[in-house]
C-alpha cells in the first residue's frame, strides 16, 4: 500500500505528467479560441474547426447527460460488449495461435482457411451474422469477437515462431522435455506478442462495437444501444455537442482499456521494463 502511494506521488512530481496535463489544457484552449472567439473577433468562420462546437458547449452538454442513467448505461453496454468479445477472442485466439506455431500438421490444415477469412473486414460480417444469430446482441458479440480474434492469432503465431532458436537449444541441452520447452520457453517468449495483439485487438473491438451499435440501432431504446447508438441518436437529434461528448467518451474508454492492458503487460513481463 505504501509503495502504491509513493508511485502516485512520484507521478504527480514527474515532469512528464505535468507536460501531459498542460498539453491537454492547451489543446482545449486553442480549440475554444478557434471555434468560438475567432468568429467573434474577426467575423470569419474557420473551415472545419469553425463548425465544431467549442469545449465550453461540449462541457455544458456533458453536464446535461452526466446525471442521466442512459449515458452511463451506454458506457456499461459498450464496455460489456468490448470486454466479452475481447475475452472470447483471447481465450480462443491464444491457444489457436500457439497450436499453429508449434504443430506443423495443425498449421498445414488450419492456416490456409484462416488466411482466407482473415482479410475479410469485421464489418463485412455484419449482414451475415445478423442472419446467422438469433438476436442482435449475439451478432454484435460475434462480429466484435472476429475483429480481435484474427489480430490476436496472427500476433501470437508470429511471436511464437520468432523465438530465438538458441533458447530452445540451450533448454534442450539442459534436458528440457517438449512440455518444458513449451511452458518455459515458448509461452513466456510469446508474451510480448500476446500483449501487442491484445493492445491492437482492443482498439479493433472498440471500433467494431461502435460500428455495430450504429448499424444495429441499439434494439429500439437508447440505453441498450451503447455509446455507438448514443452518438448516432444525438446526430439524428441534431445536437452536435452531444455527438462530441460521445466521441470523447469513447476516447476515454479506449485510453482506459489500453492503460489496463499495458499495466497487466508490464506486471507479467518484469524482464522487459527494467530501463
Amino acid at each position: 500500500m505504501k509503495k502504491k502511494q509513493s508511485k502516485i506521488e512520484k507521478a504527480l512530481k514527474s515532469l512528464t505528467f505535468w507536460r501531459g496535463v498542460i498539453a491537454l489544457l492547451g489543446f482545449v484552449f486553442i480549440w475554444e479560441i478557434l471555434s468560438k472567439y475567432v468568429p467573434i473577433w474577426t467575423g470569419t468562420v474557420l473551415p472545419w474547426i469553425g463548425h465544431v462546437p467549442p469545449p465550453t458547449e461540449v462541457i455544458e452538454a456533458w453536464r446535461e447527460v452526466f446525471f442521466l442513467p442512459g449515458y452511463w448505461e451506454s458506457w456499461y453496454m459498450s464496455s460489456g460488449r468490448v470486454f466479452a468479445g475481447f475475452i472470447a477472442a483471447q481465450i480462443l485466439g491464444i491457444p489457436f495461435g500457439l497450436a499453429l506455431a508449434v504443430n506443423k500438421y495443425f498449421r498445414d490444415i488450419f492456416f490456409p482457411p484462416f488466411e482466407i477469412l482473415r482479410p475479410i473486414p469485421p464489418l463485412a460480417w455484419v449482414p451475415a451474422s445478423i442472419i446467422f444469430w438469433p438476436t442482435t446482441e449475439m451478432s454484435i458479440a460475434f462480429v466484435t469477437f472476429l475483429g480481435a480474434f484474427f489480430t490476436i492469432v496472427i500476433n501470437v503465431l508470429g511471436g511464437a515462431r520468432s523465438i530465438d532458436v538458441r533458447y530452445l537449444r540451450a533448454a534442450q541441452s539442459m534436458g528440457a522435455t517438449q512440455w518444458d520447452l513449451f511452458y518455459k520457453i515458448i509461452l513466456p517468449g510469446t508474451l510480448p506478442s500476446i500483449f501487442t495483439g491484445a493492445a491492437v485487438g482492443m482498439g479493433i473491438t472498440w471500433e467494431v462495437v461502435l460500428a455495430g451499435e450504429m448499424i444495429s440501432g441499439g434494439g429500439g431504446q437508447q440505453a441498450s444501444g451503447g455509446l455507438g447508438f448514443f452518438i448516432w441518436s444525438s446526430y439524428m437529434g441534431g445536437t452536435v455537442a452531444t455527438v462530441i461528448v460521445g466521441m470523447i467518451s469513447i476516447g476515454i474508454a479506449g485510453y482506459l482499456s489500453s492503460t489496463l492492458i499495458r499495466f497487466i503487460g508490464n506486471r507479467s513481463m518484469p524482464w522487459r521494463n527494467l530501463f
Binding site: R166, Y167, A171, S173, M174, A176, M269, W271
Partner: protein, 275 residues
C-alpha cells in the same frame, strides 16, 4: 584408451538437395582428449558452427559417428554444454533461474541446486547479480553467467562457440584470463572454437587448424606453453612461432575461398604484388 574424450569418426555433413548439394564437412576425424583444452581455428565460414551443432546434437551427421567416452551421440544432452557466440541466457529468467534451470528440470533437489548455484555465481563474480535479468548484465557478465550455467550441469565436455566474440577488447582479455584460470582449476574437457589466433594460442593445449570447405583438419599444433598461463607468455619466441605457423596456414586456407572468382583473382594479383 583411445575412446576417451570426444571422438569424431569420419563424419560428413552437407546441405541442400541431392542435385545441388554443398558438402560442408567431409570425412572429418578428430579426438578431443579428456581434460585438455582443444581449440579449433578456421577461416570464417569454414563450417565451425556446423561442427558445433553436430557435436551438441542439434543436427545429425550424414555419415560417420560422434561419441563421448565411448557413448554415441544421437540428441542434445547435458553431457555436452554449449556456450554460444551470442548470449543464450533466457531473457525472462533471472541469473539464478538461468543457472538452476537445467538441474531443476531434471528433478534435482531445489535447495541443493540453489546452494551449488550460489557457489558457482560467487566463483564467476556474479553473486550480487543473481536476481537480475540478463538484460541488466554487461556482455562480460552474461558470458560468465553462461559459464556458470554450463558448469552446474556437470557436462563431460564443454563446447564454446566463439564465446567472447562481440565483447570489447578489454572485457575480452579479462574473460580470457578468467576462463583460462577456470579451466586450469577444473580441467574439464573443453572444445573451444575461435577465429582469433592469439586467443587460440593463449588458451589451448592443442590448436586444430581447419581447412576451408569442405572442412577438414589441416594441422594440429601442440602448444607446450607452461600452465598456469598469463598474457606475458604470448610474447615469448615459442608463442610467436605458434602464431606465425597458424597464421600462415589460415591465410592459405582463407585465400582458397577467393580462388576461381574474378574478384578473387584480382585480389590475389594485388596481394602478390604487395608482398
Amino acid at each position: 584408451m583411445s575412446q576417451e574424450g570426444l571422438l569424431l569418426n569420419n563424419i560428413s555433413k552437407g546441405f541442400g538437395e541431392v542435385w545441388d548439394r554443398e558438402e560442408i564437412i567431409s570425412d572429418f576425424s578428430l579426438n578431443v582428449k579428456q581434460s585438455e583444452l582443444t581449440v579449433l581455428v578456421g577461416p570464417s565460414g569454414c563450417g565451425k558452427s556446423t561442427l558445433v551443432n553436430l557435436i551438441a546434437g542439434f543436427d545429425k551427421p550424414d555419415d560417420g559417428e560422434i561419441s563421448i567416452n565411448g557413448k554415441k551421440i544421437t540428441e542434445p544432452g547435458n553431457d555436452r554444454m554449449v556456450v554460444f557466440q551470442e548470449t543464450a541466457l533466457i531473457p525472462w529468467q533471472t541469473t539464478m533461474d538461468n543457472v538452476t534451470f537445467g538441474p531443476i528440470l531434471r528433478g534435482k533437489d531445489k535447495n541443493k541446486v540453489t546452494e551449488e548455484a550460489n557457489r558457482l555465481l560467487e566463483k564467476v563474480g556474479l553473486k550480487e547479480f543473481k536476481d537480475k535479468f540478463p538484460i541488466q548484465l554487461s556482455g562480460g557478465m552474461q558470458r560468465r553467467a553462461e559459464l556458470a550455467r554450463a558448469m552446474i550441469n556437470e557436462p563431460e565436455i564443454m563446447i564454446m562457440d566463439e564465446p567472447f566474440r562481440g565483447l570489447d577488447a578489454m572485457s575480452r582479455e579479462l574473460m580470457q584470463e578468467f576462463f583460462v584460470k577456470l579451466f586450469e582449476d577444473n580441467r574439464k574437457t573443453n572444445l573451444f572454437v575461435t577465429s582469433e589466433i592469439e586467443e587460440a594460442v593463449f588458451l589451448a593445449d592443442r590448436v586444430v587448424v581447419l581447412s576451408n570447405r569442405p572442412t577438414n583438419v589441416r594441422k594440429i599444433i601442440d602448444i607446450t606453453l607452461p600452465r598456469p598461463r598469463n598474457f606475458n607468455m604470448l610474447s615469448s619466441s615459442e608463442a610467436y612461432e605458434y602464431k606465425r605457423e597458424a597464421m600462415e596456414l589460415l591465410h592459405e586456407e582463407a585465400m582458397k575461398s577467393f580462388k576461381g572468382s574474378e574478384v578473387g583473382d584480382d585480389f590475389m594479383k594485388a596481394y602478390i604484388k604487395n608482398t
